[in-house]
């Protein structure tokens, strides 16, 4: 064994001791200069190669190079240790994450729009398009084309605001049925949400303006069972997967057969028993529906012997009252900040 080896081992040992003791990068740099620098201790050893016995000389260079590599690795390790030490110090830092942060400046969407949008989404999944229309309509679209001729007793039920005898604020969004069917050949599958007006005195349950979503599907082979399925789908989308719907016979001039549509009371889940929302019946009314009357189909040039369809109308405010347990419908239009904040 070469006499050089113990000498190199000693150097490495001292370097290690120095590196272990170093507290900062500068100390390590100092060590590097002292041991591996141009005039460092390794250089001194290298200069001493000539003094070695001739037999040891050929391996001396390799021995020294290996030792240098080991010492450089030692220094690198020490450097990495120091660097992580700084991060470990950072890791000791603690802040109070519960300390209140400034509120994000996000606004909010009105509950009425949210419900309309959820209905649009639920029916969008079934293939329905959503269309918008004017609020002032000729009576032709609001009534006549919907099988409600001038002297029909049902006109009174719509209790409309008139601008002129021929022009009124739409009492429902059903005019969009007629407008869409007149512009497109069947099949037609639309949803028509929008603001409607009826001459109701304002109180906790009534507004003279409200939002309705009308649905219309006309194609070959469409029947009443599909209407029930679609409204059950709607109710489940809005109120949860266990909702059921109940159809009761009713009368609307533009549908035959016609129905009032109830759904499981979302508050008592149909248990009734002195429920303040449904009055104990276990059901709440969400709208009207029925098979499109053949007279309406004929009016838009569809053949009722070939296509059939259904339509429904649901009241958005009524759904909002049930869903958010709102005590007074006027809150929806007062839109107080606190109200909007709670329902955002």
């Amino acid at each position: 064994m070469s006499a050089l080896q113990p000498q190199l081992d000693d150097l490495a040992q001292r370097l290690r001791a120095g590196a272990d003791a170093a507290n900062d990068i500068a100390a390590l740099e100092e060590l590097r200069v002292r041991f591996l620098g141009r005039n460092g201790e390794v250089t001194l050893v290298r200069r001493g190669i000539g003094a070695l016995p001739p037999a040891e000389r050929p391996d001396a260079g390799k021995l020294i190079n290996d030792a240098v590599a080991r010492m450089e690795a030692l220094l690198d390790d020490a450097k990495a240790r120091l660097a992580r030490g700084a991060l470990d110090e950072e890791l000791q830092r603690r802040i109070d994450v519960t300390f209140p942060a400034p509120e994000a400046s996000l606004g909010s969407i009105h509950p009425v729009r949210r419900i309309v949008d959820e209905i649009a989404d639920a029916f969008g999944r079934l293939g329905f398009a959503t269309v918008l229309g004017d609020e002032v309509e000729p009576s032709y679209y609001a009534f006549d084309a919907l099988n409600i001729p001038a002297d029909h007793p049902a006109r009174e039920g719509f209790d409309s605001f008139f601008i002129t005898p021929e022009l009124l604020l739409r009492p429902h969004t059903s005019p969009m049925q007629i407008r869409t069917m007149q512009q497109h050949r069947p099949p037609v599958a639309i949803l028509a949400p929008g603001r409607c007006y009826r001459r109701d005195a304002v109180d906790a349950r009534h507004l003279f303006q409200f939002h309705q979503v009308e649905g219309l599907l006309v194609a070959e082979g469409i029947h009443f069972g599909h209407l029930k399925g679609a409204l059950a789908h709607l109710s489940r989308s809005l109120f949860g997967p266990d909702q059921r719907v109940r159809f009761r016979p009713s009368f609307f001039p533009f549908t035959e057969p016609s129905a009032e549509v109830d759904t499981t009371c979302p508050k008592c889940k149909g248990n009734g028993e002195s429920c303040s929302m449904c009055g104990g019946s276990g059901w709440i009314e969400i709208g009207g529906a029925g098979m499109v009357h053949p007279n309406v189909l004929r009016e838009v040039g569809y053949d009722p012997a070939v296509v059939s369809g259904w339509a429904f109308g649901v009241g958005v405010e009524r759904i909002a009252l049930a869903r958010y347990e709102i005590d007074d419908i006027r809150r929806l239009i007062e839109s107080e900040t606190e109200f909007l904040r709670q329902l955002q």
């Binding site: 606004g107 909010s108 969407i109 009105h110 009425v112 649009a120 969008g124 079934l126 293939g127 329905f128 398009a129 959503t130 269309v131 609020e135 002032v136 001038a150 002297d151 029909h152 007793p153 049902a154 009174e156 039920g157 605001f161 008139f162 601008i163 604020l169 869409t180 099949p187 037609v188 599958a189 639309i190 603001r195 007006y197 001459r199 303006q209 599907l217 194609a219 469409i222 029947h223 009443f224 069972g225 599909h226 399925g229 679609a230 789908h233 109940r246 009761r248 016979p249 009713s250 009368f251 035959e256 057969p257 016609s258 098979m291 009357h293 059939s308 239009i333 839109s335 900040t337 909007l340």
Partner: protein
């Protein structure tokens, strides 16, 4: 409509449970709005006062001897003053349960009283509609029989809603028919045979003249030997249960028939109608009528009346006149049972605000045959009171039969989604009174005379579904074929709403109908909106007379209601008067009420915020660059108002609220508004991607001194044009006024950024373009560079 269950049960066998009956009615299309439940009453029987004497020890009491059909009479002391020997009265025996008391034997001032004589109130009837004191019963009632059972006093009353298409169902019998069909049980309908046996003596026979087509049938019958007296107990009690006040036998019979079968009748005092001649005609302009409730009406030709040879005697189908009304002296009647065109009745009833039980039935257009039935029913009841009947006279000709309707059973499957056999269809339709012939798949159906609403095959399909039960039709989801209708407009409105939410605005709703208080506030702020506002012809109140001409006013009213920072928006329609119609403008409006900030008069941070929100919204919706120019708008401060446009198309405005309006709304905070016309916003155009230049961009900042009226937009435009193709951005980023630039001047800091797609620009090249820009800014805008 109030439906006494006891009365219903006389025509059809029903379950005991009223809730089950109510459910059945609801599922038949007659929603039960409420059920009025009666208290338990037992132990009340029919008695007769055989003797009456003063109480020995009490001035106010009388002691009655009562025969209740038993071996032993009862002795009952009473404080009532309307008692007399010979009266038939209800007697609560010992042990009887009345609404507020259980009857026990007791001594009344030393006399042992064995029960109690009952008033109407104690029998759960409206006290004010019956005798003041002890209720009087018919002398024909068996003594000792159960009063409660005889009159169904404990049976509930249903309040039922009847849809406007069901002229046939506005009666106890009409609903009984439905229930009989639904339960599959027999209907015990009253006879509609007219028992008249005497031929009308010619000079007193009614003569009917129909001068209007709006009366389609008129049945008149002369009845003599009538007497105005209380009606039989059964009639009085049923009327009271149905919510109709009993008056006297004649009025009560007319009301009873209307409630029972649905045909309103009118009884004239025959002696008040000269020659028994009745004329149905349009009223003459200015013609007057005093109704039986003493209302003076001034008529015109729009009103249909029944007149005698001299004057109006009644408003057809709505209310009779006082001149020929039945009075105490009446001994002979003319009964009118008529059919009118419903619309005519409805319009007249609405115009005079006279809505009666009669008009609510006539306005649905009653089946003509019901007129004959109603007159016949009244004749039967009058005859039972001893009146003499003369043969009825009919005007209006033959009644057209109901139509024959063809129905194929596969149509039910197509429209309802359930298979129905021809036999099961026939079964349900027959239960409703239809005549049905079945030929294989095909049914030929004739509805009964009372169902004039059934005119085509879908009507019959609904009848089938109703009786079968809507709940028997299974739910399924349709597979909707692809359609050509687009949701683009809705999606865009939705996107606008969600962008505004992200920009920090809360969506609110405000009223579309506005009135004096809002318009007045606007007017005090110098803005007369009345001239442009659309007026509603039939508003609910002055506060809802006009359609809103802007959304801005509603947002201001909202902000004025609370003194707080707010950012709100509404998407809705504004309305303006147009020459022939209404101009409707879907609008996006948003507003910010901010805290006041210290800032130089030429700077407006709040404006800048709302402007950048509007620009962000518009550029996201369109994919295009938005141009800003100063402008004017009636709601905005004339010096802080910008017009926004894209490609030369004006889209809306943004600015600070006009100070006059701020004052009239008492808005102390600075308020900034934006209003965009939804339909003016161009369609979204998808941008194309351009890879960024590989060569570095270079910029130069200039401090320009200008006249204060020179706008930043002008500086940007001129600089961009002068620099030319390598200009990739010009932006004015600071403004300064003050001593360092001198009075009447302002300084704008502008950064010009240049970049070439094909080379690195040299300093020389950049400086050359910048110098060109400085020269142009000087020549065109008078700008000098501050060094």
């Amino acid at each position: 409509m109030r439906l006494p269950l006891a009365w219903l049960r006389t025509y059809v066998d029903l379950p005991d449970d009223v809730d089950a009956i109510a459910d059945k009615l609801s599922m038949l299309g007659f929603p039960v709005e409420s059920i009025e439940r009666k208290p338990t009453i037992t132990g009340v029987v029919v008695g007769r006062i055989t003797a009456i004497e003063k109480h020995p020890n009490a001035d106010r009491l009388q002691v009655c001897t009562i025969d209740i059909g038993a071996a032993k009479t009862l002795t009952i002391a009473t404080a009532a003053t309307n008692v007399a020997a010979g009266q038939w009265i209800p007697v609560a025996q010992i042990g009887a349960i009345l609404p507020h008391v259980t009857i026990a034997p007791r001594k009344m001032r030393g006399v042992e009283s064995e029960g109690m004589l009952c008033s109407a109130e104690e029998l759960a009837l409206p006290a004010e509609w019956f005798e003041d004191g002890i209720m009087q019963l018919d002398e024909s009632l068996p003594l000792g029989s159960d009063v409660v059972a005889a009159f169904g006093l404990c049976e509930p009353i249903l309040e039922v809603e009847i849809t406007s298409n069901r002229a046939d169902a506005m009666s106890v019998l009409g609903i009984a028919r439905e229930l009989a069909a639904a339960y599959g049980t027999a209907l015990r309908a009253p006879s509609f045979e007219n028992p008249a046996s005497l031929p009308s003596p010619t000079e007193r026979a009614p003569r009917i003249e129909l001068r209007s087509n709006d009366c389609t049938r008129f049945v008149a019958q002369r009845v003599e030997g009538v007497r105005v007296a209380p009606a039989p107990s059964a009639i009085r009690i049923r009327l009271a249960q149905a919510g109709q006040r009993p008056i006297d036998a004649l009025v009560d019979i007319s009301n009873y028939v209307m409630l029972e079968i649905g045909q309103p009748l009118h009884f004239y005092d025959a002696d008040a109608i000269p020659n028994a001649h009745l004329i149905v005609r349009d009223a003459a302009p200015g013609e007057r009528l005093t109704t039986i409730d003493e209302r003076e009406l001034e008529l015109d030709e729009r009103a249909l009346i029944i007149a005698d040879e001299n004057a109006a005697q009644g408003l057809a189908g709505i209310k009779g006149g006082s001149a020929s009304e039945v009075r105490a002296s009446t001994t002979a009647l003319l009964i009118e049972g008529a059919t009118f065109v419903g619309a005519r009745i409805r319009r007249t009833s609405a115009r005079f605000a006279l809505r009666t039980e009669a008009s609510s039935r006539h306005e649905r257009t009653l089946p003509p045959a019901l007129a004959d039935a109603g007159v016949a029913r009244a004749a039967q009841l009058l005859a039972s009171l001893g009146a003499q009947l003369f043969a009825p006279v009919v005007a209006g000709g033959e009644i057209a039969p109901t139509p024959q309707i063809a129905l194929a059973s596969h149509e039910l499957r197509r429209l309802l989604g359930i298979a129905a056999s021809p036999d099961s269809i026939a079964f349900h339709l027959r239960a409703l009174g239809c005549e049905v012939a079945v030929d294989g798949e095909l049914l030929s159906v004739r509805p009964p005379w009372w169902r004039r609403d059934l005119t085509q095959s879908v009507d019959l399909i609904e009848e089938y579904a109703r009786l079968e039960g809507y709940d028997r039709i299974p739910e399924s989801l349709p597979s909707v074929p692809a359609t050509e209708v687009s949701s683009a407009r809705y999606r865009r409105e939705r996107e606008a709403a969600f962008l505004l939410e992200a920009l920090g605005y809360r969506e609110v709703l405000t009223y579309s109908l506005v009135g004096e208080s809002l318009l007045g506030t606007l007017a005090r702020g110098g803005l007369d909106e009345r001239a442009r506002s659309v007026e509603v012809a039939n508003p609910l109140s002055e506060e809802q007379r006009y359609l809103r001409a802007s959304l801005e006013a509603g947002l201001l009213a909202y902000l004025a209601r609370r003194d707080e920072r707010a950012a709100i928006f509404e998407i809705g329609h504004a309305f303006a008067r147009d020459e022939r119609s209404v101009l409707e403008t879907p609008t996006i409006a948003f507003a910010r009420a901010t805290d006041p900030v210290e800032q130089p008069e030429w700077r407006e941070e709040g404006f800048a915020r709302v402007k950048s929100d509007a620009i962000a919204l518009l550029s996201r919706l369109t994919g295009a660059a938005v141009t800003v120019a100063s402008g004017e708008h009636r709601f905005l401060h004339p010096g802080i108002c910008a017009l926004l446009s894209i490609g030369g198309r004006e889209l809306g405005v943004v600015g600070r609220l006009h100070p006059y309006l701020a004052q009239s709304f008492a808005l102390e905070r600075p308020v900034y508004l934006a209003a965009l016309a939804f339909d003016a916003i161009p369609e979204y155009v998808a941008p194309t991607y351009a890879p960024p230049s590989k060569f570095p961009a270079t910029y130069r900042d200039l401090a320009l001194v200008l006249a204060p009226e020179i706008e930043a937009a002008a500086v940007e435009r001129v600089a961009r044009a002068a620099v030319g193709a390598t200009c990739v951005g010009v932006r004015v980023f600071d403004e300064y006024r003050g001593a360092q630039v001198g009075a009447g001047k302002k300084s704008l800091a502008v950064r010009i950024t240049m970049q070439s797609p094909s080379e690195t620009l040299t300093d020389t090249a950049v400086d050359e373009r910048i110098d060109a820009a400085i020269a142009r800014l000087h020549d065109e805008l008078g700008a000098t560079v501050r060094r």
